[in-house]
Symmetry: C2
Subunit: 362 residues, 2 copies
């Protein structure tokens, strides 16, 4: 089947580009002695999770228990849940996961630590635990200091938990390559200070989890991080290109769409809006995606089923019924809008995968 026969809107994955992305990241990180534990939230696909592990990843990172369950069902045996788990129903599911996987959890509060500890103790299990620290992102995580130390000590003492280290997130690292490098080196100093401080208390960190895709190939400037949990690198997207980290030819995921109206002058309407792309904006650039066939076009606005694309200087004709391909701003949130992907090599469809971990909110 040729990719032009797929009904739109639809997610297309270029397998050659994706495999190249996977190999390049694994080789780079292995070359620097950093373990790769990719975040599966980007692809949500068992098929890709297995490929990542086969290529050398030590396991996968998940946010929600439902995501971890899908990956455990797919045969992944080493999972990191990088999200604070709270509540009876989730703890029960966490115990069942611990029965079949090597599991690590993360949190930044004694409340969450105690809840997981109790559930594990009662069921006779133990999970690895990372304490999340905040080194500038300002999302989750305790700032380095006495409170952080106290939580690490609590974790080391709690039954059912094995203190395994710390987790950080460098989502705030931005700017030019030179600025990012400097930022990563600063970050490294902060993390090393924390590690020294913990060591002085007798707490060794077997794992320091960190990393992001835009700064992936600068990770050697942050050698204190032992496990990189980048996600987006598998497909890349418009945000990644705008960050300067990759180029358009590294983008493995596209949305196939169709022009359904061009009645309003200076504009075409494509059959995908926020229900197809998500309404995530691009950090650096205007608009919601890049139209591969005509990059002069500006994908300026969206309703749920309508993408408003301004001609914006383009002189090409775009008749009703024309098929276009769009690289989305944020591939993780775009993937989450779909139930399936079409996998192709060149222009031939070679497979169709169900996005099994889509919409796992709990």
């Amino acid at each position: 089947m040729h990719i032009s026969e797929i009904d739109t809107p639809a997610v297309l994955i270029d397998l050659d580009v994706m495999e190249r992305n996977l190999r390049r990241a694994q080789e780079y990180l292995s070359g620097h002695g950093i373990r790769l534990r990719p975040h599966m939230k980007t692809h949500k696909l068992p098929e890709v999770g297995r490929m990542q592990v086969e290529l050398g990843a030590v396991g996968l990172t998940c946010a929600k228990i439902g995501e971890a369950e899908v990956m455990a069902d797919a045969g992944i045996t080493d999972l990191f849940l990088a999200y604070p788990i709270w509540g009876a129903e989730k703890l029960e599911r966490l115990v069942r996961l611990a029965e079949r996987c090597r599991l690590t959890v993360a949190f930044d509060s004694p409340e969450v630590a105690q809840g997981i500890s109790r559930a594990m103790q009662e069921s006779g299990h133990e999970v690895g635990a990372l304490v999340e620290i905040d080194t500038g992102m300002g999302r989750c995580g305790i700032a380095p200091g006495p409170e952080m130390l106290a939580l690490c000590r609590t974790v080391a003492d709690l039954p059912g938990l094995r203190f395994a280290g710390i987790m950080t997130y460098q989502g705030h690292v931005a700017g030019s390559t030179r600025e990012r490098e400097a930022h990563m080196q600063d970050e490294n100093e902060r993390v090393v200070e924390v590690l020294d401080c913990l060591r002085a208390e007798g707490l060794e960190c077997e794992v320091v989890s960190g990393g992001t895709s835009p700064s992936l190939f600068l990770s050697h400037h942050l050698p204190a991080v032992t496990e990189n949990r980048c996600g987006t690198y598998v497909f890349n997207d418009r945000n990644m290109v705008s960050s300067g980290a990759v180029s358009w030819s590294d983008c493995a995921m596209r949305l196939a769409v169709t022009v359904v109206s061009n009645a309003v002058p200076g504009q075409i309407i494509i059959d995908g809006g926020s229900k197809t792309f998500s309404s995530d904006r691009c950090g650096a650039w205007e608009g919601y995606g890049r139209v591969v066939e005509d990059p002069d076009l500006l994908f300026l606005k969206m309703n749920e089923e309508h993408g408003y694309v301004r001609r914006n200087g383009s002189t090409k004709s775009h008749p009703v019924g024309e098929r276009l391909h769009v690289i989305p701003n944020h591939v993780c949130t775009a993937m989450n809008m779909h139930d399936e992907v079409w996998v192709h090599r060149g222009e031939q469809v070679v497979d169709r995968w169900t996005i099994q971990a889509r919409g796992k909110l709990r």
Copy 2:
């Protein structure tokens, strides 16, 4: 089961409020001799679609064929597809729908008209057809004028299509109630002119489809519209309240979430971000939703699984594990992120519905 026992994040529907919203809209429109054909994209629920029809709606409006298929399966026999249908696969499904429903379609191009005509003719069916005209929204629709007239004439001549009238969309109507009223009255004049023009050509419009939820109760200022396809009125949301059309007590849908971190000073993190709420912004107000228990809080930022809520002057304590309820900016896109809703009266859960028409992109 008490609503506090539902694991988060989760969609909660207050049945009493929803039923009041449905009845009020039906009574108002019936009182003004306007037919109601609600857009099901807001709820995506067969249960609610059936209620709307039982209360007096003439049928439902859908955007995508997959949505219409769900509603036809639910026993709704009169459906309007307010979206240009293009491509062999969709046309085949359209024919199958026409076999079991009274179907009306809409478009703004001869290409789409001819495609549907051919498919209907070949299968021996006929569907009603509305020509979409643009009265200022600038999305789909032909501007009133000779080209529009030509398309209406083409439709009247094409086999398999029955010219049934026109469709407009008043999504651009905004401002104070007085400004909206004036805008609706202008709009009415424009539509009446089009109708006169069509009548002079011998083309009678049995249907003029229009309307939006924010201007629902001003529809008597636009009497030329015979069928209102409002959607959001069923649940309402923060956008609707910010438009001045309804109040918080009219909001029937809330997201139950849990505080999972408060480690960063001045901030709490809830277990729902863009994967739970969608990243749609509010037209008029800052932030992504209203926290019912503490409206002083500002839901300022989102990642996929993290909602960043600033304390913003609130003096209440928000410990890890606390359950909160949030009214989203845009209920249609928020509903699309979920697989199920919990239906309650007061604080007791009375049902759990699968969002059967979620994610129907084609």
